[in-house]
């Protein structure tokens, strides 16, 4: 029997769901190997008996929380895709302001009409079996996950830093150009795509560990004169670091 696949969205831009549709060369092969039973963005039919459910988006409303629990009950394997589902994503930037204030800023005296809560990753609400991080998730990593799942092989994320891939690609280090970059502390697997296009790594795939972040923060300040607030701005942007400051 073909595995029954579902694709679901909580609070997000739905870019990670869209990224699946951007696997144009492999899409027909994937559709041949699995049965897509629920994908609101792309189809009318909706089933709730799902073998592997992919979820993009953060939990940021009471409705999201109910939906996340429903998805956990409906999907044998639950996979968080993208920075929002894995880390909370850009949605967590609102957590740094007073709820009353950000609600009133957008909806004025009618703010009470729209429910919200601090944005959290999916794993903060339900057990998540796998995470495919990135903003957006890396299409090739999604493909590797599907191949592993179909052939019964185990799937693991790279446990080394973006710099390893960046060096392999022969990119000139951005530090040599005087640009600071979070490649040294960020989980690899994205083919160092941002430095390859001349932009610094902003840790959208999450940091390898808080210790690495603290060490890098000190090093950036002492060796490169980078202000702590600039480092914090980057590590907080996609939810890689939930704290308010670094030592």
């Amino acid at each position: 029997m073909k595995p029954r696949i579902g694709v679901f969205s909580l609070t997000s831009c739905e870019g990670c769901s869209l990224a699946i549709l951007e696997l144009e060369d492999q899409l027909l092969d994937i559709l041949g190997a699995v049965e897509v039973v629920n994908f609101r963005e792309g189809m009318t039919e909706r089933s709730w008996e799902v073998d592997v459910g992919f979820v993009d988006g953060a939990v940021s409303t009471p409705e999201d929380e109910r939906e996340a629990k429903h998805l956990r009950e409906s999907c044998r394997t639950l996979v968080a895709i993208g920075a929002c589902a894995c880390l909370g994503g850009v949605n967590t930037l609102k957590n740094r302001q007073e709820e009353k204030d950000y609600r009133a800023y957008v909806y004025g005296d009618r703010a009470a009409w729209f429910e919200t809560q601090p944005a959290r990753p999916l794993s903060a609400v339900v057990k998540v079996d796998f995470e495919l991080p990135g903003c957006p998730m890396v299409k090739e990593e999604f493909l590797r996950f599907v191949q592993c799942a179909l052939s019964g092989r185990s799937f693991q994320l790279p446990d080394y830093a973006v710099c390893v891939d960046c060096k392999k690609k022969g990119n000139l280090c951005l530090y040599e150009k005087g640009v600071f970059c979070l490649g040294p502390v960020t989980r690899a697997g994205c083919e160092a795509i941002c430095p390859s296009f001349g932009s610094r790594c902003e840790a959208c795939r999450g940091v390898l560990g808080e210790q690495a972040l603290v060490t890098a923060g000190v090093n950036l300040r002492e060796s490169y004169g980078v202000a702590l607030e600039d480092v914090l701005a980057d590590v907080q942007r996609y939810g890689a670091f939930q704290g308010n400051t670094l030592p």
Partner: protein, 435 residues
């Protein structure tokens, strides 16, 4: 007289979550809402306190489908607020990547979201076995559009190389030559798409409304990346910096996306049909030929023809991209440092993205920190107009004796014709019928 109730929860094949709710009592509408149940996003609030250069990379995360569009509008707003002048090379590359996104979004909408309704299937998936050539063509066209975005921005979803002041990476000439060849080859796919499209029956419905878009003079190019605000009811152009004179926002209870009106209309439409209605004379000759063949003439008041206008824009964007690549290759690409801010203040930027005119506006303090942000999204601007269309459309259908299922399908098709993007707008859709 009939009583009809329709409740569609989470309209499918649209971006985001929305419900349609309609109640008809004795043949008259007693309740009609297009409910936006997507989570509120609060981008405008959490932009406050972030630095000027972060805005494009944060706001592109509003939407995966129109990520390049948000980046472009945000760049223009930041550059207006910080007195940054970009080079002619940067403008050409930005126009080219925006064309790539128009193509990607329109092809996705026409083939994956809208066409299944016309062929009587629930999604594009069954078409893979019944119409494999159609699906392969759709994927080929979408991939070309993505690759065009990828060569310039690094990727389509959340582009990397687009920054305030310019680009941090330039495509290789050989990449552009290859893309140009693929664009030329895609003319045949566009021709087959037009043939398929001309066999589909577009529902007959008209309701007079106002069409708003950007426009570049009377003989400038067809406006996407730049232009002034015009409409079919007020063709006199308004500078984008004064957009609030033409776009008036309000909060309504059944929608986490704000509604919009203009000084001339309680509801108006933006998007491909609005651009066509204002700027048809500025289309590429090949796109004009197709409009003639399909019988689309400005001003067209049938919103279902937004699909037709999208197809015509696909031809325009393909031809315009070929011309842009020729021009870029003739001038030659050279590394340019990012242009720097000259002051910090207030600025607005508008870009006509796949679903219509998108506005970003920021206020920066003396250190370049964002203190105010306002974002007005195409789908938000269309919501009141979609509801007005539904109000006009439902009573005659009910009186004609059409079944509840067929009315529901017709309403869903109407909503899809606008190609709504609900993640964007909340910063839409379930039909609820009651009988």
């Amino acid at each position: 007289m009939r009583n009809v109730t329709i409740d569609v929860k989470h309209v499918t094949r649209v971006e985001g979550h929305g419900n349609i709710s309609v109640r008809v009592t004795d043949g008259a509408i007693t309740h009609l809402e297009l409910k936006i149940v997507e989570s509120p996003r609060f981008f405008e609030a959490f932009l406050r306190g972030r630095k000027w250069h972060e805005a494009p990379h944060i706001t592109c995360r509003i939407c995966g489908i129109c990520s390049v569009g948000h980046t472009s509008a945000s760049l223009k707003a930041v550059e207006a607020a910080a007195g940054i002048e970009v080079s002619p090379q940067t403008r050409m590359l930005r126009k080219l990547i925006l064309n790539g996104e128009q193509l990607q979004s329109h092809v996705l909408h026409l083939y994956f979201l809208a066409v299944p309704d016309f062929l009587g299937v629930g999604s594009v998936i069954p078409l893979a076995s019944t119409h494999p050539d159609v699906v392969r063509r759709a994927l080929r066209m979408k991939k070309l559009a993505n690759d065009l975005c990828g060569a310039i921005g690094g990727r389509h979803i959340h582009p990397i190389a687009m920054h305030a002041g310019g680009f941090t990476h330039l495509p290789q000439p050989a990449e552009l030559v290859e893309l140009k060849q693929r664009l030329e080859a895609s003319r045949e796919d566009l021709l087959h798409t037009a043939e398929l499209y001309s066999t589909l029956r577009v529902p007959d419905f008209t309701r007079e409304t106002e069409f708003v878009s950007l426009k570049i003079g009377y003989n400038g190019e067809y406006a996407f990346y730049e232009g002034d605000l015009v409409s079919t009811r007020e063709p006199k152009p308004t500078d984008v910096q004064d957009y609030r004179k033409r776009v008036i926002e309000s909060v309504v209870q059944h929608s986490a996306a704000k509604h919009c009106r203009s000084p001339h209309s309680a509801a108006y439409m933006v998007g491909s049909l609005a651009r066509f209605n204002n700027n048809a004379a500025q289309l590429h000759p090949e796109a004009k030929n197709l409009a003639e063949k399909l019988g689309l003439r400005p001003v067209c008041h049938n919103p279902f023809h937004n699909n037709t206008a999208q197809l015509i824009e696909c031809v325009h964007c393909t031809e315009h991209s070929i011309e842009l690549i020729d021009s870029i290759l003739t001038h030659g690409l050279k590394e340019e440092p990012l242009a720097k801010p000259t002051h910090f203040g207030r600025g607005a930027g508008a870009v006509d993205v796949p679903r219509g005119t998108l506005f970003h506006e920021y206020e920066l303090d003396k250190d370049g920190t964002i203190t105010q942000a306002n974002l007005i999204i195409p789908t938000g601007q269309n919501l009141a107009n979609i509801e007005a269309d539904m109000r006009a459309m439902v009573p005659p259908l009910v009186a004609s004796g059409m079944s509840r299922e067929d009315i529901t399908l017709r309403l869903e098709m109407l909503v899809r014709a606008y190609d709504p993007c609900i993640s964007c707008a909340t910063h839409l859709l379930n039909i609820e019928w009651e009988e």
